[in-house]
């Protein structure tokens, strides 16, 4: 007992001031003060603390709000550059300057001075496609990161709550069965299916107790059910051509991107990003489970419902315009965590930006590598993404425990 009290005593700040202020003033002052207060241990502790702080200054700078802002600004620039660059990739021979001129012209500037055909390629085809890729990549990455933390499962992805399977059932109902009598588009059908599936998951999860495990299991049940329904519909009534069309859509395609889809997707993305970022600290609190989060002041049920709703909404919007693009939402959050640590204030924007840049480039590869044929983007994401991810996993493993990496946490 005496050892305990003796040990804890000197650690309280001494009146003579062995704190950072005197330590920094140099000379014999702090040393004598330390002896006078019998606080050598405390002084040593403190100087060790100071050294650590100095050594990790860059990590601290990154952790602060400004650091995150810098990282995000760089990410946005990288994203914009990627979009501008990928538009020039392809057969029309368009340069970055042309892209800039077309955008300026459309936004009310001088005439672009390009042929209508080339201007159309930039404005009607490649720009909305690249932007939709960016929105999808960002949205899927964001949803994946949020769901992995919320459900405490590293295998969670945006489709874990049955949204994509519901969307596919909705899509084949419209395309193959002709539900809606031609008034419904494929996207509308997909969105309706996704919403229905998610509602079913919420209902199931709620009636079975509402815990994290129940939510996951309900999602799996819905996923299986709607996948089976899709297969059943295709099996019973589709011809080969329709089946091919549906399959292609299921694997993801950004080929039909329109400005309307970009606008809706970007709106949903912005909403979800704001809602999730406002709960970034609360997501951090989930590291030790929902009860620990509750003890840290998080209203667990309400937050879980809110986040499930916004991520499901965003996923449904993205899936109905671009199909179920896999890999991005499952793997990119892990890559982002390896790069910037587990704090959600940084993780969420970084994952979104990483996803955006990733999908912009992968979609470009998908449309050009086998030209004139187009690879489904969902196939390309995995083919190109897995090797990159393996590389990151190995890097992360070697780098773990290094002071810089460790300091980039919460």
């Amino acid at each position: 007992m005496t050892a305990a009290s003796g040990g804890a005593g000197p650690r309280t700040p001494a009146p003579g001031g062995t704190g950072p202020g005197t330590a920094a003033s140099g000379g014999a002052g702090p040393e004598t003060a330390a002896f006078r207060d019998h606080s050598v241990v405390a002084a040593a502790d403190r100087s060790r603390w100071q050294t650590r702080r100095r050594a990790r200054r860059w990590a601290l700078a990154l952790r602060s709000g400004r650091g995150t802002a810098v990282v995000c600004a760089l990410g946005v620039v990288a994203c914009a550059l990627s979009v501008a660059l990928v538009i020039t990739v392809g057969q029309a021979g368009i340069g970055v300057a042309d892209v800039w001129r077309v955008v300026a012209a459309r936004l009310g500037g001088a005439d672009a001075g390009l042929t209508p055909l080339r201007e159309g390629i930039v404005w009607e085809l490649r720009l909305p496609r690249a932007l939709l890729a960016a929105v999808c990549g960002a949205g899927l990455g964001l949803c994946g990161a949020v769901l992995q933390s919320l459900l405490r499962n590293p295998l969670a992805d945006p489709f874990v709550l049955g949204v994509s399977s519901g969307a596919s059932t909705g899509a084949v109902s419209v395309v193959v069965l002709g539900v809606g009598g031609g008034a419904l588009s494929l996207s509308a059908g997909a969105f309706a299916g996704a919403a229905l599936s998610f509602a079913l998951v919420l209902l199931l999860a709620h009636t079975s107790g509402g815990t994290t495990d129940r939510v996951l299991l309900s999602g799996i049940a819905a996923m299986q059910l709607f996948s089976a329904l899709t297969s059943l519909i295709v099996f019973v009534s589709a011809d080969a051509e329709q089946t091919r069309g549906v399959l292609f859509w299921l694997l993801g395609s950004l080929g039909s991107a329109s400005w309307a889809e970009v606008a809706v997707g970007a709106g949903a993305l912005a909403l979800t990003l704001v809602v999730c970022l406002a709960r970034a600290h609360a997501l951090d609190a989930f590291a030790f489970g929902p009860e620990a989060a509750a003890a840290l002041g998080v209203r667990v049920r309400r937050m879980r419902l809110t986040l499930l709703l916004v991520t499901a909404l965003l996923t449904a919007v993205l899936v109905s315009s671009a199909g179920a693009i896999g890999f991005v939402g499952l793997v990119l959050p892990h890559a982002a965590r390896a790069a910037c640590g587990p704090a959600h204030r940084r993780l969420l924007p970084v994952t979104a930006l990483l996803g955006a840049v990733f999908l912009v480039w992968v979609d470009t590869a998908a449309r050009t590598l086998l030209a004139p044929r187009e690879l489904p983007v969902g196939v390309a994401t995995s083919l190109l993404g897995v090797p990159a991810f393996v590389l990151i996993l190995h890097r992360g493993r070697r780098g773990r425990g290094a002071p810089g990496r460790a300091g980039a946490g919460l």
Partner: protein
């Protein structure tokens, strides 16, 4: 005043896990919760923290029911250290301690000077200052316990709820931790298994048995041979030989066995 429970009960699957317990620690007091496994200690702590809603009865903070105070405001006052803490996230010691500042931070705010000071003070008091970079997953059970306690201290609570905090700790750290809790200005409610540690550090003891409070009061009054026999079903000798004349409990083997004989047989 401060945190107080009036006649609280919690029901699960038709069984009353906590059955009408009242608790009213004075500010700064250290209250020990004793009782055998499954007597409702952990559940009572969760009710006190507001993590679980009471089936009946009410928990109040400064006279206001927890529900009215609000989750976040409660978490700024009441810190909890659970018995088990597990995570799949790759966190460092510092990351975990920083979690304690969540209730104090706005949704969009970065860590401020007060957050830094609270984290620093917490790690110094728990002697973790030189281990901040260590990954959580590389820590032993006792070290994890200390990190969780540092996290709770970083919350700068006025009430601290600890569920068997001395589990996994070696003797020195057990004494150090309980001294930290008992000497500090916080009001602490601590579930404990070790009767002697409870007698040594607690100002007030509440003994639970099958969800009911069967005894409450200062250690000298509560810890008797009769109570130990009644609650734990174990024979013991209680003397006033603990520090400051507090009770000291020595357990005896069951009546039927004869220790000398068994010792000879085994050797």
């Amino acid at each position: 005043m401060s945190l107080s429970a009036r006649n609280v009960a919690w029901r699960a699957g038709g069984r009353l896990v906590v059955d009408g317990v009242s608790l009213d620690p004075r500010p700064g007091q250290t209250v020990g919760l004793l009782g055998p496994n499954g007597s409702g200690k952990s559940t009572l702590l969760r009710l006190l923290a507001g993590i679980r809603a009471t089936s009946s009865g009410v928990v109040t903070l400064d006279g206001r029911p927890l529900r009215e105070v609000g989750r976040k405001a409660v978490a700024r006052r009441v810190a909890v250290v659970e018995q088990h803490a597990e995570t799949g996230v790759e966190l460092t010691v510092e990351d975990v301690v920083r979690l304690g500042r969540i209730p104090h931070r706005g949704a969009w705010a970065g860590p401020g000077a007060e957050d830094e000071a609270a984290v620093r003070e917490a790690v110094e008091r728990t002697r973790l200052a030189d281990r901040l970079d260590q990954p959580w997953h590389s820590l032993s059970g006792g070290e994890r316990q200390r990190v969780q306690i540092a996290r709770a201290l970083a919350q700068r609570p006025s009430e601290l709820l600890l569920d068997e905090p001395t589990n996994h700790l070696d003797v020195r750290h057990q004494l150090e931790l309980l001294a930290l809790v008992a000497r500090g200005p916080v009001t602490a409610v601590v579930a404990l298994h070790d009767l002697n540690l409870a007698a040594m550090f607690c100002d007030h003891l509440v003994v639970l048995c099958q969800g009911r409070a069967v005894a409450a009061g200062p250690p000298g009054e509560v810890l008797t041979e009769e109570l130990v026999a009644q609650v734990y079903g174990v024979r013991s000798v209680v003397t006033a030989e603990g520090p400051g004349g507090r009770p000291s409990v020595r357990f005896l083997p069951e009546e039927e066995t004869e220790p000398r004989q068994t010792a000879e047989e085994t050797s």
